[in-house]
Symmetry: C2
Subunit: 322 residues, 2 copies
């Protein structure tokens, strides 16, 4: 990651995000994603510019991501939001002109470590059809909320599409069909062919209600500065709100109540005694503990070789000043 004119500090931020995904067992966002990032960095048609602050107030900042990878822009947004919330208790930060904003739980863990609650929404190019439609109007549009707690933070992080882009690409490579109901071809007809789906649109998660949530995320991305109809994959919107619980009550008491509530969720009488009710974030957090204790992650050979190749290729490539 040192290539493509990233500083050591920038490379560390990107690597930390990717490795955290691997540790948490979310390998889709981990090292395989590094290969896609490198592909994107090789396309120099939109050169990187420094991240700039377009507008700022004591409670807000609007960032131009400078066509930088989202791990850098997302972390900068998070740090600004936390800093502002430390002084005013409340902050909103928007960013646009960025891509691959990563796992929102990564940023929200920082927010909860600062003792704050937060929300992040991320929009992008139009690839997912609204309920009742067959053309893309949303991106896979993740949305996430995080809450600080006496125990582990509670962080909920979902995508609003019925299928992930990476899943469809993988099925195409493996020559497999998609499940029913996940995509439309460019002709607007339902399809199970991944190639047709990639030229057409994916379905949204959650029917009518889920479609509304995906729309909300797209509108929050527009509030963050994204265009109404982004044509480029580089034009993501990143919207973040951070709240200090002390604004509305006693912060320590809130963290205790969150922990007690998480316990009560886990203790819910289960439908199947073998499958207790889970609290979001706890499984991936436990996975991280386990892998850190083992001091090992498993990486598929194909990804490992790809990264070795990319490392060779990028080291050979002269740095270009942004």
């Amino acid at each position: 990651m040192l290539a493509f004119d990233h500083t050591d500090a920038e490379a560390d931020i990107i690597a930390d995000h990717l490795i955290d995904c691997e540790l948490r067992g979310l390998s889709f966002g981990g090292l395989p994603r590094a290969l896609s990032v490198i592909d994107r960095l090789r396309d120099t048609s939109t050169p990187r510019r420094p991240i700039t602050v377009l507008k700022e107030s004591p409670v807000s900042a609007s960032l131009d991501g400078g066509d930088q990878v989202g791990y850098l822009v997302g972390l900068r947004a998070t740090e600004m939001a936390i800093e502002k919330a430390r002084s005013t208790g409340l902050a909103v930060v928007g960013a646009s002109k960025t891509w691959y904003t990563g796992m929102f739980s990564y940023y929200l863990e920082r927010v909860t470590q600062a003792g704050f609650a937060g929300m992040i929404a991320g929009s992008g190019g139009q690839k997912v059809a609204p309920h009742g439609g067959t053309e893309g109007r949303f991106s896979t549009n993740p949305i996430a909320f995080g809450f600080p707690s006496d125990g582990a933070p509670v962080i909920w992080d979902i995508g609003t599409a019925g299928v992930m882009l990476g899943e469809v690409v993988l099925k195409e490579r493996l020559g497999q069909e998609l499940d029913e109901g996940l995509a439309f071809g460019p002709d607007g007809q339902p399809t199970r062919d991944p190639a047709a789906a990639l030229k057409g649109a994916f379905t949204v998660w959650g029917g009518h209600k889920g479609s509304g949530l995906a729309m909300v995320v797209q509108l929050l991305g527009m509030l963050a500065g994204q265009a109404a109809a982004p044509l480029s994959l580089r034009d993501c919107g990143f919207f973040m709100i951070v709240v200090d619980p002390a604004l509305l009550g006693d912060a320590a008491d809130f963290q205790a109540r969150v922990a007690a509530y998480a316990d009560s969720l886990r203790a819910t009488r289960p439908l199947d005694p073998a499958r207790p009710v889970r609290v979001p974030f706890e499984r991936s957090s436990a996975e991280r503990e386990r892998r850190l204790a083992a001091n090992a992650i498993e990486v598929p050979d194909l990804v490992y070789e790809g990264l070795r190749e990319a490392a060779g290729a990028t080291q050979a490539q002269p740095g270009v000043e942004a």
Copy 2:
């Protein structure tokens, strides 16, 4: 509504909310709900107190709802959030000790009329089971977002339960069975019997992902001041954030982009040509136009008689000083 010691202004607020629901065709939240409100007001075991501000900053307020009906508390919260956002661009308001907070789109229409975007989440007593569980841990937990636009505002407003309390109560009265998969009895077994469902728990909407969203709403309600395990139906949490789009960019440009995006949603190639893609709020807004033009709403005889009876009863009841 003048009875139970409400002032003229308070009665107007309650009536305006209920009538707006009727005009928009959301009759579940309209005049039939007035009967439930009256029932609740008759129970004087928790007397109404004035709404008080527990904590306040330039960007926030925390309200004790004084066990007042939510239409009053929600509007007060909305007015405070709008006023603060006018000066700082951003506001968070939480309220607790209130009940029946009404249709969140009602408050968000005010927010969008002021040119702001907003989010509201509302929690309550534990009646809905998390995914994989058979005991209540959420209320029916509505969540809503609103965005100002050059055209009609875009307001999305959903409940996160698989079924509404009112629907279950109605089925019980009519002696009808619930659909499959909507409820558990007090024994934790799936049931189609509304009476058993009312003693047990309802299922959550949207499976695993929807269950997470319902949890988020419950935690936002706790952030607003609700207890971790509210036992009383009167202990709802109401959480609201208002953002001035001018904080992050050009406000007029944002409203134009929202309108253009809503148009592009409507113009999405539909799966069924007879069923165009809808934008949230537009249907109920059109219903309101139609009923206002006709200058009439239809109210079931049973509700009409109930309201006449209640009016007689409450007029006969002497006012009690709070």
